[in-house]
């Protein structure tokens, strides 16, 4: 039973393997090997036996085949209502088939299933809201991804993503040294404009520990600087951990459950070590999902709760605005029509819609909701790893049309997108469809309009 050098059932655990996998540009060799990768039927059977319990079995069995879920799925709507995109069809023809055949499936089937699992579902969970039986296909697709990952049928980029977390403890090759240096560099750079500004690393017993997305230190270090400025202005007693600062989890998109556990335990270990009163995470949807919503379960915490309260950035901002820790200059509020992207991961799946509305009421004069919105909002089009998979780029670009049309319908030219994935998707949709919009995280907007308290203003140099 052949396993490839790149495409195999083993996750990537060493820097060397990771580098050679990265060297296989676009996964050319990887996908060739996949076409030869045999299914380990015994292992698949055993996994089903252990992990397929009454909830999922019942979902698969009682599905009325009524098709009520069809219209709820943005991928169905945006692909000319192709019946092959009906959520129930997608899951029945993949996971349903694996279960009915008790794992006796072949390589060609698994490759097709991989395509459905990563290019026809973003795990946005919207369909589950529209099914009369409460059948959540997003949850089942996530489970299916786990089965596929364990058998080696996972898109190249996500095998790498999972490997990154396993090797570096972050979704990108940012080492502890790189990270700590970035903190020092950003603090130094800002000190002139913001005297007294610090990015305290590993401070014990702080009120707030901040965790973020590795893309920030790697590609947008100014995002970290902005977070620091806002904490500074709000008078927050805060810190970042030198280890366990990465909040995201490409392992979750990949279905690498063991990797998910490793990743989230790093963050929880930092909490244990530094004993902050609470943790605030950056403007990222899936990172919040991974550390706050699913994380406690991967880490085996029976309460289902994080070890200390864990806030999404929008919760922190809404609190800072309502308590007056951050004050907005009324003159500088956004005057133009502006709309807001509801991230599935923390809005549908964590109930934070009211916080972003509070924020908008402080910062915007002419706020327009998308339709539908809040819990019912559509995925940006790039969720669940879709944004990052080259093989499915075309499908992803088609998927972006949903958000494009939602934004166009608001008439706004500015979109607030407090989620990395959503932000990327909106950037890509502008690039692809050129509808003339701008998009932004909250941090730069807030900095442009927040009132700086007298004592924090740079001293006039009196020479």
């Amino acid at each position: 039973m052949p396993e490839g050098t790149f495409c195999n059932r083993r996750p990537v655990n060493t820097e060397e393997d990771l580098k050679s996998l990265l060297g296989d540009k676009g996964g050319a060799q990887y996908y060739k090997e996949m076409a030869e990768l045999e299914v380990d039927v015994e292992a698949l059977k055993a996994t089903l036996q252990k992990t397929l319990q009454s909830r999922t079995k019942t979902w698969l069995e009682i599905c009325a085949h009524c098709g009520m879920c069809a219209d709820s799925c943005f991928l169905y709507r945006v692909n000319d209502r192709d019946p092959k995109q009906v959520p129930a069809y997608k899951i029945q023809s993949t996971l349903g088939e694996i279960v009915r055949k008790k794992g006796e499936v072949d390589t060609a089937f698994m490759m097709r299933t991989m395509e459905v699992a990563w290019s026809q579902c973003t795990c946005c969970n919207r369909c589950g809201m529209y099914c009369p039986h409460g059948i959540d296909m997003g949850v089942m697709f996530s489970y299916l991804r786990g089965l596929l990952f364990s058998q080696g049928f996972v898109p190249w980029e996500l095998k790498i993503g999972s490997g990154m977390h396993r090797v570096y403890g972050a979704q990108m090759d940012v080492t502890t040294e790189d990270w700590v240096e970035t903190c020092e560099w950003m603090a130094e750079e800002q000190q002139e404009e913001w005297p007294g500004l610090e990015i305290p690393v590993d401070k014990e017993d702080a009120d707030t520990m901040y965790v973020l997305n590795a893309r920030e230190p790697k590609h947008y270090p100014e995002d970290l600087a902005e977070a620091a400025i806002l904490f500074h202005l709000a008078g927050e007693n805060w810190t970042v951990p030198s280890e366990g600062w990465e909040q995201t989890s490409l392992t979750m998109f990949a279905g690498d459950w063991a990797g998910c556990k490793m990743q989230v335990e790093r963050v929880y270990a930092a909490v244990d070590k530094l004993r902050p009163k609470r943790v605030v995470g950056t403007e990222c949807g899936h990172a919040h999902r991974a550390t706050v919503i699913e994380g406690p379960y991967w880490a085996g915490l029976p309460s289902g709760q994080t070890p200390v309260p864990f806030l999404h950035y929008v919760e922190w901002v809404s609190e800072a605005l309502t308590t007056g820790k951050l004050k907005i200059d009324p003159e500088k509020r956004i005057k133009e029509p502006v709309t807001l992207q509801d991230s599935c991961n923390y809005v549908r799946n964590h109930g934070l819609a009211k916080h972003t509305r509070i924020i908008m009421s402080y910062i915007a004069e002419d706020f327009h909701e998308m339709a539908p919105n809040r819990e019912h909002n559509y995925c940006c089009g790039g969720g669940g790893g879709f944004n990052g998979i080259g093989r499915y780029r075309h499908q992803r670009n088609v998927a972006l049309k949903t958000k494009r049309d939602q934004i166009l319908a608001t008439g706004c030219k500015l979109v607030v997108a407090p989620c990395h994935n959503c932000w990327d998707a909106i950037r890509d949709l502008e690039e692809e469809y050129e509808i003339g919009i701008r998009w932004s995280f909250l941090k730069p907007l807030l900095i442009s309009m927040v009132i700086v308290p007298e004592h924090l203003k740079p001293q006039e140099e009196d020479e």
Partner: protein, 226 residues
Amino acid sequence: MYAFLTGPMLWVALLVFFGGLAARVVWYVRGLSWQLDRVAYGPHLAHGLKGGIHSALKWMLPFGTQSWREQPYFAVAFFLFHIGAVLVPLFLAGHNIILAERFGFSLPVLPMGIADALTVAAIIGLVMIALRRIALTEVRILTTAYDWFILAVSAAPFVTGFVARLHVGNYDAWLLAHIITGELLLIVAPFTKLSHIVLFFMSRGQLGMDYAIKRGGYSRGAAFPW
């Protein structure tokens, strides 16, 4: 024949139905796993149940959810059928006479006119559901012979019972057909997707608990905006 079907056979059918469905509920609940489902049912039981009950009730209310409102044709068909399918068998005068005779108790009964109307509504609902299955591509792609079998098994007792009630054709033959198809429905229910008669409450309850306990219930409240 009639005596056997409304005697021992009725016993068997009812036992299979209630015993089978009870077993499905027990099996469902025992198969829930906080770690695999990633929902901490135990520590948040009361809050979770609030969400679970809300989730089931909202969906039993005609046009009670966004999904029902967006699909009015199907919502009408669904409720026309299900209201009759649940109420008529339980509260039909004829059924309760048998109940009283065989088991010594009976339920309140529906006035004849209302029972007739509910039966007709149920049959209309089923026809609408069947038409939709044929007409819509997104439903056609999901439809298998099994779905038609379930529809037929569900329709048969209502159609035969109603024909018997109207006394067209051979009354005894239609009555017999009604009893046989009714008992068939009772017997197959626990083993087919008709088990949704109870599993609907389990599955809806579970998703309601999932949202209440883990997916935002402590921020937005136990009731999810279905």
